[in-house]
Symmetry: D2
Subunit: 333 residues, 4 copies
């Protein structure tokens, strides 16, 4: 059960609400986000919500039958819009496109990508500076300096930045340069990181774990929301199965399930979702057809020379053709 | 390696070819299909294919680096078209739609579906009369009588029939009434059934096994082809994974992989692919966007009263809306 | 619900039982096995079982809360013993060992294995004559002649035979030479084959499907039992997962779950369960430790020369060492 | 390739080694652990290792064909022993037993468990104070105070402590109270945490990820080792599959594979491996039979009242019986 409180609720009124909940043996978590104030109440007792709804300072009361609460669509049927500034909105009528290299490598590389995005009217660049790699001996990213460089190049173009954060200690110095923090698949249940991102007023995109269930992904979002940050995006990027003909099994079903279960925007990552360059464009279009709010794909001037993920990265020509097709598809949606 | 032979090759010339292959230690399988004659040659030795290509009676020689041979696109880059008669073609420019109930239940039911298909210009009806069921106590189909009834209703409308065959002994009596035999997911590696269907001159659609790899599906097709039947379709219908939010995980990646690896037409089954009615339409459109040659979905006048699979079956209204959307999508493809 | 009937129940008494069940809207399946007579009653209505138990001709009535019925341990807490003749029992106090080659290849090969088994006091030989193979071009077995040869060699030693049957049409000619029919993993849900094996009075061992759930395996056994054959064994042989470091993931948990859920004997197949020769012995001992009723493993004089599965087959020396260890383990069980 | 250096190597000699490696285009990682000094050299060029082996300051040179290097058994065939002090060794001849509650809850609870362990001669207590939970509203542990309390109780008994660390910032304050840090399944690829644990001179046990491959687990260990900490244990705790009859699929094959691939000790966690209390004891014995170096299981005075994981936790009586059986099994190993 979620109780929405007026931001102006008095201490006395708050105490009254608490009292009723305690009497009914609810375990209560107080949540203050950048937008609103909530009490998340977990309990077994059935309660007449009218007995709460009429209390002073209470805006609304919602019974949510899901295990997760704040991210559920059961209490908030209107979908959440994420405003990035400059009129860029995720979760609005038109799906967004985010694109960029797997790793931020060099100034020249980022300039080229920024020009490519700008030319094709793409407003959000992806690009990793902290790279989670299976092997400790692999390239692990250019770090905060890479991010600053990326920022200085993107800024003049009005291009927003999404990049992965790997641990709490990185958040503070990344903050000025990031428009969307990305939580990677391997950190999808790194609960300390999620907690910390709940205290930031920047959007966060959470990738589904390699074998994360849809419910686990929603709970990961619930972690961040319940710590105070409502500006969340969820990302399907393929799951691990027995099939070895490609890198990951893109779970296209998940897109519709998520749109059903949560009010948060849902993003598809076709590059990781299949892991093979030639399959990325059609998979992107299929994802849009299943109703996602945006796509994020990898692009690089010379994929074959990129430091990581080259086999699933489009070159500029392929990217341009894809964008045209995306626009055609958006017209019939 | 595949050697295509002239149908008119003389015994003497054939013997010469055999001799060269034996000298090079190839294990040879002779294949005669309704269309052509082949030798499938498995061996480790490198051979100069010109030494074979110039032999009398040899039409062409192809090195195929895949483990499967005849179904590979390595030797036959032109995609296979399946002609069902009356101008109905699978694998041509326009993807086909197949629809119908999970199970054939009653005359009234089939008449209603036939009228629905006819009205919406759908030319192929699906409908099971032999039903593989996990429990022996569940409804197991109306059998051959159901099929005859289905046939007598569909015939006047010019509607073709696709239905599942479960074992060799059923083939003969089903033959006159079937336009496409379907091999179900649970029989995807029932090699005796596959062998037997190789001796039939009717198209066969093979469904991917519950946890069948893409390569295994191709090998199942190779079984039928190598016994003499080239008229084959492959069907992606969802695989088994850890996720429980829906029935099966539709492997949309498989559609593109299959179009890459084989010249055979590829069909998507969104009904089994997700198993939830409200998700079927978008999944159908997504599948078309990934380049499949057709879709097969379940439709019933009253899904909630159907004997099986009601939860994933569209009603007529939903089906009609879907067909309109399919047509819109086909225009931009 | 299962109603056990007296074999001598009169027609009139039977009709009375049927009447009560019909009044209570049960769907009833009559089952006559080699041992007993049952009515399997599927329905939603709660019924006072005493109203059935006192009817003439009724031996006993059992409520079974599982979806499967006859194979459930809910009505038959005593474990089933399978008598193979000559005092050989599966499901008794002492786990049994079955061993032999993957494929029956030659007389010499079988003689050697028979001598090896005889010397080590192993009473059951495995050996395939019909081989399900992913590729149609692979060795597919020596067929019925191979089985006859195997029989003539094993008979003098008193060694029993377990071998795979792939389709109904093979049953009749295999019958005189087989002590246990094996249903392979790929045929685990070949329901026509299961039905046909229900009409045979020979034990049947059903292997779990590649991605078959434990419940599906139990339902496959229910198919055979409900057609009349109670003499069933279940076999865990590894499932398909994302891991590629070995052939299959042996589901050791399944052994205990099965012993909990069903009264049928449970066999472990460590050879397929891991697929790597050097890991087979310890996996065998681990399986015994988890309470299985027997193990079946692959042995060959020269595994590296065997026609199939050589990489997971023990040689005679390894097999002999394993048998000694098995005997040590059996002492502490 | 791994080059073992003398700890006393001079700067000049070191420079010479570096020069040869640079000439051969190796990418070199210098590793100093609590015990030894290594150069991990990744490159494509074949090099005659004698040209390195004779250089001053070089102790030994090993070609390692695995992708991971330092944790591979290819260069260190002798298994690693982890000394915890007071004669307690993991990885020696006798497998160790670790047991304790899922969560540290109260002083009374820990005292009871400590007495139980002491009485049964178990020297290592498990117990979580930082609990990764899918839901943010679940009990998340008693934190550092819980750990201090646990320490003060265990200390007099000479009982060592293994407990989970969830992020880098916790390490410092946990350090004095912990004998083995545990990295949980959800953090198995939290590379920042792994890096940080490389700088600690305390043993670390890494749990396999929910869908982590065996190779990924080895790479996670390689992360820690290459940052300076050789005292590592690996733990198999069940993987995520399609089966829902129990909590996780215990991958018993992984135990033997790991003993084959790495010199590090391998621990089995049967409690999480199956997730059902009644199956834990036999699974423990099966694990020992497959050659693991130790087991870790959950025990609590009153499992049904425990804050977490009660359904898979043994009570004291069950634990005592299990320990007796373990001792019997250890005698025959």
């Amino acid at each position: 059960m979620i109780i929405q409180l007026n931001n102006t609720i008095t201490k006395a009124d708050y105490a009254k609400v608490e009292k009723v909940l305690a009497e009914n043996k609810f375990s209560v978590t107080e949540v203050k986000t950048q937008f609103d104030r909530y009490l998340v109440c977990i309990g077994k007792k059935e309660i007449d919500i009218r007995s709460l709804g009429h209390l002073a300072g209470v805006k609304d009361v919602h019974i949510v039958s899901d295990n997760y609460q704040l991210v559920s669509r059961k209490w908030k049927t209107e979908y959440t819009k994420i405003h990035l500034g400059d009129g860029i909105i995720i979760g609005g009528k038109t799906p967004v496109v985010m694109a960029g290299p797997c790793s931020i490598e060099s100034e020249e590389q980022v300039v080229k990508v920024a020009q490519h995005l700008h030319k094709n009217n793409i407003k959000i660049m992806r690009g990793g500076v902290y790279k989670p790699r299976s092997s400790p001996y692999a390239f692990r990213g250019t770090g905060i300096e890479g991010l600053k460089m990326m920022y200085s190049i993107c800024k003049p173009y009005g291009i927003k930045i999404i990049t992965e954060v790997m641990q709490e200690s990185q958040i503070k110095e990344m903050l000025p340069y990031v428009d969307i923090f990305q939580v990677g698949a391997r950190n999808s249940q790194n609960f300390n990181l999620l907690d910390a991102l709940g205290e930031v007023d920047k959007p966060v995109m959470i990738k589904r774990g390699l074998s994360g269930t849809i419910e686990e992904l929603l709970f990961s979002a619930e972690y961040i929301f319940s710590k105070g940050n409502e500006r969340l995006l969820l990302c399907e990027r393929g799951i691990r199965t027995f099939e070895t003909a490609y890198r990951n099994t893109f779970d296209i079903n998940a897109l519709q399930v998520l749109k059903d279960k949560t009010h948060l925007p849902v993003i598809a990552d076709p590059s990781h979702g299949v892991g093979v360059r030639s399959y990325v464009p059609k998979l992107t279009l299929s994802s849009l057809m299943s109703g996602c709010d945006g796509v994020i794909y990898e692009v690089h001037e010379k994929p074959e020379e990129s430091f990581s993920d080259g086999q699933q990265t489009l070159n500029f020509l392929e990217s341009e053709e894809l964008i045209k097709k995306i626009n055609t598809v958006l017209q019939i949606l």
